[in-house]
């Protein structure tokens, strides 16, 4: 644990135990989403599905990156990850991104994807609100993740016909915002 780093966050008025619980729940959401997105991605097939597969894969890889980026901050602040993978799944900040009953329903898969991203956007907004001006390092991390989650939401929203995303898909490297935490 980084003792002074934790002390300064506490001194700024943040309940660090609550913040840690939120960070662990969000890390759990990222890892479980990575798993569920694997299943969703492999089922994105055919004329409709193939066009979405690449962008779903980007979101999948970036969600795993979010997990990797969150872990060091959790331990710096004196937290820990659950010992049990099942507990990890059960405490997730977001519901499971399950494959729809009709696994060939591409619009159904897109609704699951956009729902998961919207949950994440709300979650990181909450962490940003909680840490702004008080815990600069967690805020910087949560904001970087939030930037990517918003892009994911806008991509899937566009495919659902809700309007233009205003974004291109990634060209080459993933996690343009979070990569600085992965070095």
């Amino acid at each position: 644990m980084a003792q002074v780093a934790r002390q300064v966050v506490e001194k700024a008025g943040i309940n660090v135990d609550e913040l840690l619980e939120l960070l662990v729940k969000n890390a759990s959401a990222e890892l479980t989403t990575f798993y569920y997105y694997t299943i969703l991605r492999v089922n994105l097939i055919g004329l409709q599905g193939e066009g979405i597969k690449e962008i779903a894969e980007t979101a999948r890889i970036e969600d795993r990156n979010h997990f990797e980026a969150l872990v060091p901050r959790i331990y710096e602040l004196g937290g820990k990850l659950p010992d049990d993978m099942k507990e990890f799944h059960d405490i997730s900040a977001c519901p499971p991104a399950n494959l729809p009953k009709d696994k060939h329903d591409v619009m159904g898969i897109l609704k699951v994807l956009v729902g998961a991203e919207r949950c994440a956007v709300r979650g990181y907004t909450q962490i940003c609100n909680m840490t702004a001006g008080k815990d600069h390092r967690t805020y910087d991390l949560a904001l970087a993740i939030l930037n990517e989650e918003i892009e994911h939401e806008s991509w899937f929203s566009e495919f659902l016909g809700e309007g233009p995303s205003g974004h291109f898909l990634r060209r080459g490297e993933t996690s343009p915002f979070v990569s600085k935490f992965l070095k």
Binding site: E21, L22, K25, P95, P96, R122, G123, Q126, N129
Partner: protein, 77 residues
């Protein structure tokens, strides 16, 4: 529709197998089956068995999400 006062609502805190009810603007909702209210807590910070009208104003979502859960009662002063 069942009527609750704040003391009666407090029982439904989602802990130890009890149902999880929350109130918003005089309406009581059952969130027991919501994944996001496991154990009667939502996002670490919000506890079932309470009137969350003020808390929802500071939440990163609006009351529109309550359309996903069932209203089961009315909160009386």
């Amino acid at each position: 529709m069942k009527k609750f006062n704040k003391n009666e609502l407090a029982y439904f805190d989602g802990k130890d197998g009890r149902p999880a009810y929350i109130a918003y603007e005089g309406k009581v909702y059952d969130v027991s089956t919501s994944f996001l209210w496991k154990g009667g807590k939502h996002w670490v910070l919000h506890q079932a068995g309470r009137d969350l009208t003020e808390e929802i104003e500071r939440a990163p979502h609006g009351p529109d999400l309550l359309a996903r859960v069932k209203q089961i009662g009315i909160l009386q002063e």
